[in-house]
Amino acid sequence: MNFELTDIQREIQRLCREFAAKELIPNARKWDETHAWPTDAVKKLAELSLLGVAVPEKHGGAGLDNVCYAIAMEEISRGCASTGVIMSVNNSLYCDPVSKFGTEEQKEQFLKPFASGEKLGCFGLTEPEAGSDAAAQKTVAVRRGDEYVINGSKNWITNGPKADAIVLFTMTNKEAGNKGITAFLVPTNTPGFIRAEPDKKMGISAAWSCSMFFEDMRVPAKNILGKEGEGFKVAMSTLDGGRIGIASQALGIARAALEEAVRYSGERKSFGKPIREHQAIQFMIADMATEIDAARLLVWNAALLKDKGVRHSQESAMAKLYASEMASRVANKALQVHGGMGYSKEMDAERHVRDARITEIYEGTSEIQRIVISANLLKD
């Protein structure tokens, strides 16, 4: 048993911290206020090989392990949670399934340029009436010769407005339920692929998401990812990894909130002394710091199991559940430490609360995580 980071893991941490300090922290509030897509930051992520962290080098990625990925996600999200989720979607939800289930030919077209950051990917599972319950989806793909004709819609697709391709989930056999789901790789410039305006969200405002519609959209059969009917397996395996990304994002947001609270509590005085000398503030800080460390260990534990190639659904779900709920608690306490200033847009505390809130919802709500965890716990 060894809790030390490797030299490479430390180096990634240092690199991402430096990037966050220089390019993300100074801009995050502005991007949030203006709902500006962080174009330069995403370009820089590509230069730093952070858009395909765990993808093998021969497929355009950095070829690093998932602990590196978790570390990078935490540091980037500490600087800007929106940039964090853009990165997470490209890494975990797009590149990871293409890397795991794609053919060599598919990898040339749909992985290399995305892992290297030349292009951006997104993941289309959620629909207006199907979120965590994947089998309820209504997007339909029907075979016509060498092609499939796809009709339907998806929503809340992060990176959707900017993406060059999507891992798209469809129903190819309604009667078969989960076994009737098929995943496709679809370039977003395919005729019949229509994107709506970006969603107006409470937080992570600089990470654009949108609804999309497919009208008689024709996709070659060779673009099926995995096999026909294997879509559910592709989706679940992808989400096991995606949850590590979002848990790391939550961790980064929580750390930013704690650090702000610590700083502010040293400056702001009440009753003749800095507020951090009051025990009530100290105790809040202590709980925040402890819960952040607890969450990080859960996240790294899940990442280590993913690197070993063993089943990690339960560990990913525990990391995601705990880290996301922790991030909301910590961000709220940090806002409280700031008092009235915490409610003002002049400081970052309120943004952290808004950004943290989504982590309890996307990539499987807390309720879905509890279903996954209890199913594993009670199965034998």
Binding site: M1, L298, E315
Partner: protein
């Protein structure tokens, strides 16, 4: 980073698990009811190396490290928290004497503890008016020739009536944290009186007594460290002790969770097993998640101590998080057992009572939060 156990760690865990399940667990309920301290079990624990897990084999230890110690504590606590606390205190006394003792002290006393000749060890720091704040303690030690004469009283002393070797804190000069010294005192020394046995809510098979020192003479060679080192020794021991109690909390919480998983699968309500309903499942998901986090925090603190790196902050985090978690988990375990959770036919009411002290002893949750806040301000600034 690699969280797989080494062969030694696996061996110690499995040894502790087997002993805990076969020898300890079957007696746990009776020992609790009868407030019976199981003297005979400690001989066997010593034979398995579990009274000196992190001590060199030269001094009778298993030489298996701190992570292995934490794993062994988790297993023992899952069977019986009372046995585990006596085991923890004995390990802690042996480690303290080994860390600060002279060769002669090590030869004589560490071995007595690890081999079970002392039955168990006791750690006598707390007094009626000095717990988390040792600087307030009043027991005095005055040097007379080649002896120290101890006078005063101690409270909440675990295993006090059974310990063959004790470490005792007393004031040799001054006030506050300075002027405290630590002594090795043998059980049965003249002038050492065993006081009232505390009637406790939980840990009922653990012996907790008050001690009175009345002109109790201790050879000068039994001073541990130097005069005035007492505070440093206490803090060092407590940092390590917190890992032990965190591990105990993890063990009790795991037992409560496992009992709940098994009960909710058997018990039916509205025609279905309780485990099929979402509300109980969600409670169990939270129990499992928090327990996993507590175990990782505990093993991390143990790892840092083993590597001789600073671990004060991490030990406090582990102790705080694990003890609060075990109380929540045991509370939910009682809830999910319904009425059966409240009677002693089932073990969860004992787990609940045993868990309650974990947020109190070896530094209350409040003391842990002070430590963590201080360290956080130091790190983040």
């Amino acid at each position: 980073m690699n969280l797989e156990l080494t062969e030694t760690q696996t061996l110690i865990r499995d040894t502790a698990r087997k002993f805990a399940r076969e020898r300890v667990a079957p007696q746990a309920r009776a020992m609790d009811r009868e407030e019976r301290f199981p003297t005979e079990l400690f001989r066997e624990l010593a034979e398995l190396g579990l009274l000196g897990v992190n001590l060199p084999s030269k001094y009778g230890g298993a030489e298996a490290g701190v992570v292995a110690y934490a794993l062994a504590m988790m297993e023992m606590a899952a069977a019986d928290a009372s046995v585990s606390v006596a085991m923890a205190v004995t390990n802690m006394c042996a480690e303290l004497i080994h860390a600060f003792g002279t060769d002669a002290q090590r030869e004589k006393y560490v071995t007595r503890l690890t081999l079970g000749e002392a039955v168990v060890g006791s750690f006598a720091l707390s007094e009626p008016h000095a717990g988390s704040d040792p600087g307030a303690l009043l027991t005095s030690a005055v040097k007379r020739g080649d002896r120290y004469v101890l006078n005063g009283s101690k409270q909440w002393i675990t295993s006090g009536a059974h310990a063959g070797v004790m470490v005792v804190w007393a004031r040799t000069s001054g006030t506050g944290n300075k002027g405290l010294s630590c002594f090795i005192v043998e059980g049965g020394t003249k002038g050492l009186h065993i006081g009232r046995h505390e009637d406790k809510m939980g840990l009922r098979a653990s012996n907790t007594v008050a001690l009175t020192f009345e002109d109790c003479e201790v050879p000068a060679e039994n001073l541990l460290g130097k005069e005035g080192d007492g505070f440093k020794l206490a803090m060092t021991a407590l940092d390590g002790g917190r890992i032990g109690i965190a591990a105990q909390a993890c063990g009790v919480a795991r037992a409560a969770m496992e009992a709940t998983v098994s009960y909710t699968k058997d018990r039916k309500a509205f025609g279905e097993a309780v485990a099929e309903f979402q509300a109980p499942r969600f409670m169990m998901a939270d129990m499992k998640t928090q327990l996993s986090a507590a175990e990782l925090l505990t093993l991390r603190a143990a790892y840092l101590k083993e590597q001789k790196q600073p671990f004060t902050r991490e030990a406090s985090m582990a102790k705080l998080f694990a003890s609060e978690t075990s109380n929540r988990v045991c509370d939910k375990a009682v809830q999910l057992h319904g009425g059966y959770g409240y009677i002693d036919e089932f073990p969860v009411e004992r787990y609940f009572r045993d868990a309650r002290v974990q947020t109190i002893y070896e530094g209350t949750s409040e003391v842990q939060r002070l430590v963590i806040a201080r360290e956080t301000f130091r790190l983040i600034g």
